[in-house]
């Protein structure tokens, strides 16, 4: 899976950048303790806009526990709640639901440091409903900044590591989805038009 990851990721990012070229408003670099990736933000219409994000999930990589990251995709529909003008800076507060899919590791043994969890290699597929809220800082130039928080509520399907003889899928709540909700997300947005 991870041998193909290095090929698949650039292709996914390129497709995200090029696919909606007829209507896109901005593309961006997604930065978070969750991972790093690319974002496409479609133009706002009647106080509603859509965001598509693909990023490498660095859970486990950030702690040097493993080398190969996971992948997460999210599409969200955002509602602009309020706008504030502070001098040259224009702030837009927004929130909205979305859908998350991916292939990632998960924290699977409760809270805190758990050795079994830290050393287990529980890669698996994730499917979740997401919710996020944030603020976009528009400085009037070609670059804007966006800070947001997001949470995912869903399931994580993976191979059961206690059953090595045959394929036995294990299904659980995707714990990182809600445990990482306080991880800030900073997106650097480049306006295309």
């Amino acid at each position: 899976m991870h041998g193909k990851l290095h090929i698949a990721l650039p292709l996914i990012i390129l497709s995200l950048v090029w696919a909606p070229s007829a209507a896109q408003e901005s593309i961006g670099v997604f930065n978070s303790l969750k991972g790093i990736g690319a974002t496409v933000r479609l133009p706002e219409n009647d106080g509603v806009f859509h965001t598509a994000t693909a990023f490498v999930d660095i859970y486990g990589v950030a702690t040097s526990r493993c080398s190969n990251p996971g992948l997460r995709f999210n599409v969200s529909r955002q509602y602009v709640l309020s706008r504030v003008q502070k001098g040259d800076v224009h702030l837009s507060f927004y929130a909205g639901p979305g859908v998350t899919l991916g292939y990632v590791r998960d924290h699977d043994k409760g809270f805190g440091i758990d050795l079994k969890s830290l050393f287990s290699d529980n890669e698996g597929a994730v499917a979740a409903i997401s919710g996020d809220a944030g603020c976009r800082f528009d400085f009037g130039g070609s670059v804007a900044l966006d800070i947001s928080f997001a949470s995912d509520l869903g399931i994580h399907i993976r191979k059961n590591e206690d059953e090595r003889e045959y394929f036995a899928p294990s299904v659980s709540i995707y714990n990182n989805g809600w445990m990482q909700w306080l991880y800030p997300q900073l997106t650097i947005l480049f306006k295309l038009r």
Partner: protein, 200 residues
């Protein structure tokens, strides 16, 4: 080398004062390091009393992350000198705290869009021991987007060489070799770092 670095750090305020119009700068930087080459030089006596001399290099890809914060001074319109610190992942299950002195040169000006080059040297301290510091060197460049007044965003790529002292295991007992039996213990990690920085 460490003394030289310390001397430069102490001279930093004097340099700033001598430059015209110094301004403090602050920043955050985070990134990804793809380590592709590991070399080591070991010379130690193991449990049976014989000496082992082991010098080797091998290609091996490993992903790590880094998070740094910096404080510095703009020396003129194009040069910035900053001290960085934070956390660096180095190879497998290894974290280091660097104290880095980095020079950034923006030919178009520090507060304009344009390319930049940087060169940094750091003392790195492993979090596992908080001693046995080593050296780390990075050199590279990138592009700066000026966002608003003093706020800017950098996209950077650089070559990184990180030194380390490994925990050497005895080939017979698998215990760690005591430091009194080690004559030489150096390793180097070569990697490419891609990072994003926000300056304000």
């Amino acid at each position: 080398m460490k003394r030289t670095l310390l001397l430069v750090l102490l001279l930093l305020p004097a340099l700033a004062l001598s430059a015209r119009g110094p301004r403090f700068s602050y920043g955050l930087e985070w990134g990804y390091t793809g380590t592709f080459l590991r070399t080591h030089q070991y010379n130690y006596i193991y449990s049976e009393g014989a000496r082992i001399v082991d010098n080797d290099a091998f290609w091996w890809y490993y992903s790590n992350g880094s998070v740094l914060a910096d404080v510095g001074l703009d020396l003129g319109d194009k040069v910035n000198l900053s001290v960085y610190s934070g956390l660096l992942g180095v190879y497998s299950r290894r974290w280091m705290v660097p104290i880095e002195l980095r020079t950034r040169w923006c030919p178009n000006g520090l507060e304009n869009n344009g390319p930049l080059a940087h060169l940094g040297t750091s003392i790195t301290i492993p979090t596992s021991t908080l001693q046995e510091s080593t050296l780390r060197i990075n050199a590279g460049g990138g592009y700066r987007f000026c966002v608003y007044r003093h706020l800017s965003v950098d996209f950077l790529m650089c070559l990184v060489v990180t030194g380390d002292h490994d925990l050497i295991r005895d080939p017979d007992t698998d215990f760690y070799v005591p430091s009194k039996n080690i004559t030489k213990n150096y390793s180097q990690y070569w990697g490419v770092n891609m990072s994003v920085a926000i300056n304000f």
